[in-house]
């Protein structure tokens, strides 16, 4: 769908949207993540390489780029979800508040407790709405009232009013957009530091998408958000910083690896990109 839109949208409108984002300088903000020369391979096949970037606190950072550029692989390095993929190896450093996420003494379970994730396809557990949100606090044995945590999570995800009278009903009965907000509520209930979103709105209708985007604006006051998106307008609307990834095809045409082309303030990426490939992509000439 994103590709269709590219042909009809004026390049400038993207830039206009991006310009609306406040042009604050982020480089003097505290870095939550510092990625240094990262590469990921799956049993030797390199998915992404030579990525270095910083993710700043209380901002929304978007990863954009064509399919197969490794942006989903990359975002899964931040909460060590790639550990669950047999054969996946991560090279280079990912520092989280200055500490190496992949150090031998770091427990991936503890990492995921601080760095939450929302997936592309809403994946509520086949349980009640309440039990979905309560799952995280329960497994982490968080103190305090479970009811309050559930309510707070649902309120923050702007879902409370829609579900408060049917908390005991199955989460599978919710609409797609509600399910995705439930997944966000579930993630917020464990009070993470960072929220990773892997194309959170790509399976949703435009109204649900808008609600999720509004949510991101609200949430970045308390959280640091990293989002992967196919939809450039979405990146332009929600992100403070944008990283453009592309596919590097080896001369023999067989090996395709993802590379980071450009990383800058969103307004810069969409108005005056430094790299020709970025310009081609955001103006719709490629991708």
């Amino acid at each position: 769908m994103a590709d269709e839109q590219l042909t009809t949208i004026e390049p400038m409108s993207l830039a206009d949207i991006a310009q609306e984002q406040s042009d604050k300088s982020f480089t003097n903000r505290e870095a939550v993540f510092e990625v240094k020369d990262l590469a990921v391979d799956y049993s030797g096949a390199i998915a992404i390489r030579e990525v270095s970037l910083d993710v700043y606190k209380n901002s929304v950072t978007a990863f954009i780029g064509p399919s197969g550029c490794g942006k989903s692989t990359f975002i899964r390095c931040f909460n060590r979800m790639n550990d669950l993929v047999p054969g996946a190896h991560i090279h280079g450093d990912v520092l989280y508040h200055g500490k190496d996420l992949y150090a031998a003494d770091v427990d991936p379970v503890e990492v995921r407790r601080r760095i939450g994730m929302v997936f592309q396809k809403p994946n509520p557990f086949p349980k009640s709405i309440y039990d979905n949100v309560a799952f995280g606090p329960r497994v982490l044995r968080l103190r305090g009232s479970l009811d309050e945590r559930v309510e707070k999570g649902l309120r923050q995800a702007a879902l409370w009013d829609e579900v408060k009278n049917r908390l005991k009903e199955s989460a599978l009965g919710l609409s797609g957009g509600q399910q995705q907000r439930l997944c966000i509520a579930r993630c917020l209930a464990v009070e993470p530091d960072v929220i990773l979103m892997d194309e959170p709105a790509s399976a949703l209708d435009p109204i649900s998408t808008t609600r999720i985007e509004d949510l991101m604006h609200d949430l970045k006051r308390e959280y640091t958000i990293v989002i992967v998106t196919h939809n450039m307008q979405q990146a332009a609307r929600v992100a403070d910083m944008t990283a453009f990834f592309s596919v590097d095809v080896a001369p023999d045409g067989n090996k395709r690896t993802g590379i980071l082309v450009e990383y800058d303030r969103t307004s810069k990426i969409f108005t005056t990109p430094a790299d020709k490939r970025t310009e081609d992509y955001v103006t719709g000439r490629f991708g």
Binding site: R112, F119, N123, F135, V139
Partner: protein
């Protein structure tokens, strides 16, 4: 040939196949019920076998079959489910020993039951000296159905979408929490159905029990560590006797066995419907 004619013929073929199955089952049931129904009374359920068909019953065999069924569930479900969880959730499938384990289990499911009987005789009855007791019978049937339970449980675990596991991991759950709180509960309907169907197959088994020496004439209530017979063996024993009445008694015993099996299957269907989930 016109398309509608082809469609009609296809429908006819389907109905014919269905009819064959129904006809055979129907004939069997009518035949058994016609012979057995008059003998299906309290005598059959409460009396031990006797040389006099008027007072002969199948009480020890019925009790033994129920004991065996209970022990089977007790043995197969925990071992089978835990094995399945290991293979599906924990085992690194790139390791040769895990692949070997997997192939072995699939092959074991195809081993004829009489072979398990020989194993039971050599290993359980004589090897560790358990003797020709009910427990040995239950253990050998456990070995017989364990591969089936493992395979059914693995299917059920595999049917749980990976997105559920990922969602739980992403919230900071440990592997044990992911498995015990999300994957296993979601797989229970499949596991229960598979286990109960395997159990009902085991209850109808005769060959391995004969092999380990389940005696054909038991006039007292069985105990777990005593000699025993089972319903299928009792039926065989009735049929072999010269008086015609015993054949009718055999038919009545078949009705009891069918009743037990159908109850178990109905229970399996009930569990499946009760916990049916969609993603």
């Amino acid at each position: 040939m016109s398309a509608s004619l082809k469609g009609g013929l296809f429908r006819l073929a389907l109905l014919f196949s269905l009819g064959v199955g129904f006809l055979i089952l129907g004939t069997l049931l009518v035949d058994v019920f016609k012979d057995g129904l008059p003998y299906l009374d309290r005598t059959l359920l409460t009396n031990p076998p006797s040389v006099d068909p008027k007072i002969a019953g199948a009480r020890p065999a019925i009790i033994a079959t129920l004991y065996i069924g209970g022990l089977l569930l007790l043995f197969t479900v925990p071992i089978g489910v835990f094995t399945a969880i290991y293979l599906e959730e924990y085992a690194d499938k790139t390791r040769w020993y895990n692949r070997l384990l997997e192939i072995n289990i699939q092959n074991l499911a195809a081993v004829p039951s009489i072979v398990y009987g020989i194993l039971g005789l050599a290993f359980l009855v004589r090897g560790i000296g358990l003797g020709r007791v009910l427990l040995a019978g239950a253990m050998i049937l456990t070995l017989l159905v364990l591969p089936t339970v493992i395979i059914a449980s693995r299917e059920a675990l595999r049917a749980v979408p990976d997105s559920i596991r990922q969602g739980a991991y992403a919230l900071g759950a440990t592997q044990w929490q992911v498995v015990s709180r999300q994957v296993l509960p979601a797989a229970i309907p499949g596991i229960a159905t598979g286990s109960i169907l395997a159990l009902s197959r085991a209850i109808g088994e005769t060959a391995p029990l004969i092999m380990i020496g389940a005696v054909t004439y038991v006039a007292f209530d069985p105990t777990i560590l005593g000699p025993f017979t089972a319903l299928p063996i009792q039926i065989y024993q009735f049929v072999r006797l010269p008086q015609d009445e015993f054949k009718l008694l055999a038919a009545a015993s078949i009705i009891v066995l069918l009743g037990i099996l159908l109850t178990l299957n109905a229970f399996a269907i009930w569990i499946r419907n009760r916990y049916r989930r969609s993603w």
